[in-house]
Amino acid sequence: MFDSLDADLILDAVASVLLVLGGLMSLAAGVGLVRLPDLHSRMHAATKPQVLGLLSLLLAAAITWRSWEWVAIVLLAWGLQLLTAPVSAHVVGRSGYRTKHMRRDLLTHDELASAVERISRDIPPSRG
């Protein structure tokens, strides 16, 4: 009897730690959105810590419900987020770069600019 009580206690403790961790990651994302200077840095803060944040929140939910079926569903939900998050981040980041919604003074290297310059130099003006 004590054994099962202990197991319950441990699982609940793990779940609460994971919940707090997920909450902290959301908080960090919010702080990053406010504090970071330009579009691309904000993208880092807003999208990326959530990969871990969502995983810990979902795992906490699965542990609380104590069921393997929920673990499967949770991993599925996380996997779908893994598939979609980089796509949206890439599209926003790329359009941000192309429409120059960024602060160049914050960049120490810009190897994409040199590639763009090299290529646009080679294109005859009639096509460019």
Binding site: S41, P49, V51, L52, G93, R98, A115
Partner: protein, 240 residues
């Protein structure tokens, strides 16, 4: 429009995944539910055509496990790092856009590498040059050549693990040859900026033999040097 018909065998993994998906959303993990899901999946896959995913035909689960563990460790470490940057550095953060030329020109490998890099906090795939298999990464809090080089090496290591997991044989041979020779593919920023003649004299004759044996001619230097050629114009629209 007439579309090429995909053999059912190539779509089987997708159908199995959708069958599992069906079981998961019904929360009923029984064979019957899976079969119904698989039937629906077959219909959907047939009606809504997608180009088939052609793998290389090999899959190494050991390297897959190594890749997954490395990915999880990096993701957790980097999540805390980005959170710390957001709180502590904030508005003064310096970023870099770093180009990484990958070894493999296989679309699947480039996509998987880009995904794996984009999911680890602190790096964001800004653009992809498909003809040269070059990823342009936006990296948070990078303000020196050494840091940029570290990010590039790290990206290439990620790609190496993905190639070892599911790449084709010639890419695997390249990775193994690199390991044997103790060098990484591609050029760092300083090497790229240097005039062509001063590029360390190129690989020795023994290196050339090894690379040839690995199924890749030592034309890499020539490819990189001729990157100015006009046919590499896939990202020309960046300007517009």
């Amino acid at each position: 429009m007439k579309r090429p018909k995909t053999p059912l065998k190539l779509e089987l993994p997708l159908i199995c995944f959708l069958g599992f998906f069906w079981m998961a959303i019904w929360q009923d993990f029984t064979l019957g539910t899976f079969l119904i899901g698989a039937i629906y999946a077959t219909i959907i896959v047939r009606v809504f055509y997608l180009p088939p995913l052609r793998g290389s035909g090999r899959l190494n689960l050991w390297w897959g496990l190594v890749f997954t563990l490395r990915f999880l460790v990096k993701m957790i470490a980097a999540s805390f790092q980005v959170s710390w940057i957001a709180v502590a550095v904030g508005p003064k953060v310096k970023n870099s856009i770093i180009s990484v030329q990958l070894r493999s020109h296989d679309d699947l490998i480039v996509t998987l590498t880009g995904h794996a890099l984009a999911l680890v906090p602190g790096s964001l795939v800004l653009d992809v040059d498909r003809t040269t298999a070059t990823l342009y990464l936006h990296a948070l809090d990078v303000d020196s050549d050494e840091d940029a080089e570290r990010i590039r090496q790290d990206a290439l290591r990620t790609e190496a693990l993905i190639i070892m997991t599911c790449g084709n044989r010639s890419d695997v041979a390249v990775v193994k040859a690199e390991k044997r020779l103790g060098r990484m593919s591609g050029f760092s920023k300083t090497e790229r900026d240097a005039p062509f003649i001063h590029r360390g004299g190129g690989p020795s004759e023994a290196d050339r033999d090894a690379e040839r044996a690995a199924g890749r001619t030592p034309e890499r230097t020539d490819i990189a040097a001729s990157a100015d050629s006009p046919e590499r114009t896939t990202i020309e629209e960046v300007e517009h």
